[in-house]
Amino acid sequence: MTCRFYIFIGIIYIYCSAYLHSVIVDMNKMMLIKSLVQKNMLILMLAVISISLLVSGCTDNTAGTDDPLTDVKLQIAGSTTVLPVAEECARVFMEKHPGSRIDVSGGGSSHGVKAVADGTVDIGCASRDLKSSESDAHPGLVPHGVAKDGVAVTVHPSNPVTDLTIEQLQGIYTGTTTNWKDVGGTDSKIMVVTREEGSGTRDCFEQAVMKPIKAEITDHGIIQDSNGKMRATVAGSAQAIGFLSLGYVDSDVRAVRLDGIEPTVESVVDGSYAISRTLWMITNGNPDSAEQAFLDFVLGDEGQSIVEDVHFIPVN
């Protein structure tokens, strides 16, 4: 409610200053257009304000006060890859149990592990397994797998290459293999597309493909900053190769088999596909009742369908 109030004040403030500004500046120029714009703006503002009031009126009815889960107060932080799952689950959980409050923030996997270990948050999120150094330093940490993710290597549908070995993929991504004919394709330059530093998808790819040979992804690749843009880029160029979170693969691009294994939900779940990972929610010690309630929700039907909605693979 307070949030809406600030937005409301903000809108009024912006409108007032825009109005005052337009009064002072440019009195002579384009008077007609300006006044038209202002009228429309006023209507728009009124619409926005009334809608926001309406919405706030709708959601404020607190029904079901005998719900035992109204006093759930949780802090969650960590990996931005897990963030959509945590945020969406928290939102639905709070809707179902009015009065409960779950704050979700990012910061990265390492931050999530550290924060839950030193008690700053109740649940830490990580998109990688606990490092041995971490589990040695904090033996009390209990990871709960909430989702799986596979990263598919994709090419343009017209590309004749359907199979790659891990070595070929390493060659392409380190920049030593630069022509499709070297991996069984046509004679054309390979356009390597990659994700930005820090991306969870990139991290998953690096851990599985680049880490065994201790190499960095080539600097000469095109960098796109989301799965959607990556897919659009690969779909738009016959020379492109790029990696996508499995949930984003559609008919615009073609996923190649890696060492003969097709990236599918099944091959990721049974672990035969190489580039995959588990997304974790970590508690310090066994979860207390509030933490357990939230984890039950995430691992339940509703939570797992949210996992699917945000393009990950359910664990249950």
């Binding site: 500004h21 390492s110 530093e197 820090g198 095109i222 900053d225």
Partner: protein
Amino acid sequence: MTRQTRERIIEALLFASAVSAVVIVLLIMVFLFKEGAPFLLRYGIHTFCLGMDWNPIAMTGEPSYGIFPMIVGSVYIAAGSLVLAVPLGLGCAVFLVEIAPPWAEAVIRRGIELLVGIPSVVLGFFGLVLLVPLIRDSVGGFGFSILAGSVILAIMALPHIISISADAITAVPETYKQASLALGATRWHTIRNVILPAARSGIVAAIILGMGNSIGETMAVLMVTGNSAILPEPLYDVLDPVRTMTANIVIEMNYAAPGDHQQALFATGIVLFVMVAILNAISHRALKSRMEGGR
């Protein structure tokens, strides 16, 4: 309410809105420098600005934060957009003020206003699905390039360049033109040798403002430039991908862990801020000299 109190209230409101702009700028500056400056000093302004290697999350060895390729990228794309937009914009401004019949002027001005209204991300998407393949197929390279970024930015800079230089041309005293025509000069002669030189400082201001806008633009650019944090090879190859400073901040801020990486992005913001501030100061100078000497 008496007229006097009403006046006072309006004055107070006006003052508040005027001050709020300054306060907001100051707050942003303080925030930016608080977040980025310690890192900049610790890592070294020199190594940061002239470093060639950007690798904030190193698989092996130490992370490195060098933004020189991005400074080059930003300047390249801004300059490229001006090369495309200035001749077009200037021609359009001259046509609007000196030649166009009223109906044509009205149509063109409407068109320019519409151009301002197109959100940059829409232009970026247009670039990604149309311009990039077009460049790849007809010019060469992968399409994600300095050229693509420059074209998109030129489209965005055009309206600003046109409106400011049209104002500058309009401000040239009518007597100059009459004198020139009375001496027997042709229309083109008058435009080239009298009107344009007289409006020069305003046009320079338009160009520099355009450059400042271009350097600061983000969304459209990052969709079409490929964002590789390397220098083009060879250096003049406009078909190579580059990353601009703005794109660097946007694409990595989502994930940057608190610490050096995040602070390095704020430091990138400081460098960008300083560059744009310098450009704005220069264009302000140019505009001011017009005000003093022009009329």
